[in-house]
Amino acid sequence: MTAEHSSLELRGITKRFGALTANDHIDLEVRAGEIHCLLGENGAGKSTLMNVLYGLYRADEGEILLDGQVQRFAGPGDAMRAGIGMVHQHFMLIPVFTVAENVLLGHERELGGLSGAKQKVREISQRFGFDIDPDARIEDLPVGVQQRVEIIKALSQDAKVLVFDEPTAVLTPQETDELMAVMQQLRGEGRAIVFITHKLREVRAIADRITVIRLGRVVGEASPQSTSTELASMMVGRPVELTVQKDQPVLTDNQLEVRGLTVLDAIGQKVVNDVSFTVQGGEVLCIAGVQGNGQTELTEAILGLQHRARGAILLNGTDLLGRSVREVLDAGVGFVPEDRKVDGLVGDFSVAENLMLDRYRGEPFSKAGTIDRGARDSFAEEKMGAFDVRAQGIETPVGTLSGGNQQKVVLARELGRPLALFVASQPTRGLDVGSIEFVHSQIIATRDAGIPVIVVSTELDEVVGLADRIAVMYRGGVVGIVPSDTSRDVLGLMMAGERPADHAEGAAA
């Protein structure tokens, strides 16, 4: 590339939400034909910055330059016309529309109607080797393909600057590799690419330049040759332990056995399909897999939230299936739901109230039908200390806390009573590194207390770090249960539905 000028330049971008400064004088410069990684923790302000760039938010200070020209974006339409395309973390696709309709939307005239849009989809698909039917409905497509539709949408407007916002969060490792290849091809075409992520492995694989941001500020540039540890400590601001510390499992007699569990959804699809496994006390079984392959329904079935379920869920010999949630909780099941804001906490309730949310019946919190505030508050004070919940006090509404502190409240509640089984669904999603370390140590402590532990996670790093054994789910079924030292490649193939035995044969041949 001959172009030495910056394709995109951000100067002193500042964005405040009330008292919070999400972006504090951020400078960023991206050249044509390079992949510039924006690395930062969850909540560091990466997405805010990109939403400013894309015209969704208006910056309080600073300017955006494209090819040296200062831009004024009143909305995403202006950004798009100026040549900025974005592949959003949460896809901006309309589920009931077809691929072509989604590409067409907003550009009806330029693309020449639906037939023009279909032509464009075919053209771009061919260029990148995508296999996409322009008439397919988005909601029928797997997420990996939906993401390609997002890429096609951006390219159909001939975007010069492409922003990928956490694009690999929903992908299998193989799909991630394919995405990287597409990004490299885009770089080869001379486009400027901003790649936002918190995954160090990906950054090191593909970045030409790396800018690290922390708490809304740029903390510096890093070289793509840096080690993961260097990048992590730069991102977090202190040395970080990347591996989970744990000893060999000491198995106990406690046992959860799931036998032939099938869960149907409202239209009769087997969202969980004949799943069987056992977890022994003292070990962690991680359930890996791409989001939406039945993990949510499986954990909900264990808790008694799924009504169309068959099979057996035996906890120390007692069948939990068909019991009410109350009975399951009383049987000693601790549960961390995957969406803590919706299912784990009541945002407007105080920390103290949330800590006893499922224990309002009987001693010690309730006496003669009224809540014993003294018992509630002393319990809350104790747990806040033990779980390092950073809040002004026990009366603070839990919705105002950070994600990490919210999750600590959930953990404190669920681990705060005698357990026979612990199920954690996506326990570290959206958390900062410090909180992730804390959550992991709590999970391992629970395991070491001799309790069977199930952890559902879509993050392969987390799965490999926590698990004693790994079950991979694909389209409702368990593809296989493998030891925790299984290679990532094999796990990736299993996440795409290939059985480990098939793979072993393939490797032997």
């Binding site: 907003g106 080797g129 029928d140």
Partner: protein
């Protein structure tokens, strides 16, 4: 591109369909409903069979083609109908048991058979004028259809439109007053549309700009417009009857089409508002699914943020489409005072706006299906009127319930789960 890039050797496998393995889920709701109705029919038409014949008149005196009256023996017809209903019920049980899917013909055939059987039973020893029944069906459906079209557009754009009732009533009142004052019926129709647009704009401003819960705004508007028109009616119109005596729209007979047997006189000897309806419904259906307007409208009702990210200005587009919905509902309002009734009376819409809303849901937010639903409710009302006139054996209070019973059954029971536009009722807030 002239040079095609070689496709990578390890190109991903073609995307698999996302559908999962399915278990056979048997829904016994439909066959059980059929069985219950069949039992009711048997009790009514066989157990309580009436003597004599029922005469179904198929032509009016002025018809070009004079079809003869159909004379049906009540007891025999009842028996045949009950047998056929039982057969359809058995078919439905068999299809459900063997997990087969039968088309939409079964509920339609079942419904038609039941209606025919019921008509013959209720009309024993009397004459039922079928063209009159159909004419009344069209007449009673017109405001429902316009209201439902307004509802479809508004809800597709993401704003729940409970205020259809207020739009109809406001249109009816304004249409009557302006037509009387100006002496021009067409000006009255336009004024009715403007009044409904104003009602819609209030809904839109509160729902979109001030983020008030949309159902609440709608209900408040209904109460407000009812109160306002009641007040103006008793304080102004009763004192000045000249302000409430509009010239009604003339009937225009379309030669040829009006001579079609049975349906011709009901459909093609109507006023300009009814002909406008014949145009508006297919136009909306085409517009929603084939034009840029429709694409954008549906987008802002399904996923407004996605629409915003491609440069569509969500809230202004919602505002203008809700206003357009008001203009269409206003035609339905004008129909009350400038076509069917000829003067405004207190709360003359009598809850039809809510029935129109039910038609929107029953019709799955699709203009054609919503029209069919509105026609069904119109038919139920017409049936009640006709049977009341010939002296039916069913107490008229029960017959008055019929359209509402059908509404409840239709919305709650027979229809599967219908999916509303995903963002309907949710305000879109920009940072």
């Amino acid at each position: 591109m002239t040079t095609q890039q070689p496709i990578d050797a390890h190109t991903p496998a073609p995307s698999e369909p996302a559908a999962l393995e399915r278990a056979v889920v048997k829904h016994w709701k439909a066959p059980i409903s059929y069985a219950v109705i069949t039992v009711v029919a048997a009790i009514l038409m066989v157990g309580l069979a009436r003597e004599g014949d029922a005469t179904l008149r198929l032509a009016t005196a002025s018809d070009f083609i004079q079809l003869p009256d159909a004379v049906m023996p009540v007891r025999a017809t009842g028996g045949v109908v009950v047998l056929l209903l039982a057969a359809l019920t058995a078919l439905s049980f068999w299809a459900t048991g063997t997990a087969r899917r039968l088309g939409a013909w079964l509920p339609i055939a079942f419904g038609v058979l039941f209606v025919v059987g019921f008509l013959v039973w209720a009309g024993a020893g009397a004459m039922i004028p079928i063209p009159g029944l159909l004419f009344a069906t069209v007449g009673l459906s017109v405001p429902l259809i316009f209201g439902a079209m307004g509802g479809v557009i508004s809800e597709r754009a993401g704003v729940v439109n409970i205020a259809i009732e207020a739009q109809l009533l406001g249109g009816a009142f304004t249409g009557a007053v302006v037509a009387s004052a100006t002496g021009s019926t067409i000006v009255g129709v336009l004024a009715a549309m403007v009044a409904s647009v104003l009602v819609s704009m209030v809904l839109a401003v509160f729902a979109i700009r001030y983020l008030v819960e949309q159902v609440i705004v709608g209900v408040v508007l209904n109460v407000l417009v009812a109160g306002l028109t009641n007040f103006l009616y008793s304080s102004v119109l009763t004192a000045n009857p000249a302000l409430n005596s509009p010239t009604r729209l003339p009937r225009i007979r379309i030669p040829g089409l009006a001579d079609i047997p049975i349906i011709g006189p009901a459909m093609f000897n109507q006023t300009i508002i009814v002909y406008a309806m014949y145009l508006v419904v297919p136009l909306i259906a085409w517009g929603l699914f084939k034009t840029t307007w429709g694409l954008r409208l549906r987008a802002i009702g399904e996923h407004p943020l996605a629409a915003d990210t491609v440069g569509i200005r969500v809230n202004p587009l919602r505002f203008w489409n809700v206003s357009l919905a008001g203009a269409i509902a206003g035609l339905g309002g004008a129909y009350f005072t400038l076509d069917s009734n000829g003067a405004f009376t207190r709360e003359m819409t009598a809850g039809l706006g809510y029935i129109a809303l039910a038609a929107v849901i029953f019709g799955q937010w699709h203009p054609i299906k919503a029209t069919a639903a509105a026609l069904l409710f119109g038919f139920a009302s017409a049936l009640q009127q006709t049977l009341g006139a010939i002296g039916s054996p069913v107490p008229s209070e029960f017959m008055l319930m019929l359209p509402y019973v059908i509404t409840i059954l239709a919305v709650a029971g027979f229809i599967g789960q219908s999916r509303p536009p995903a963002a309907s009722g949710k305000a879109y807030i920009k940072q």
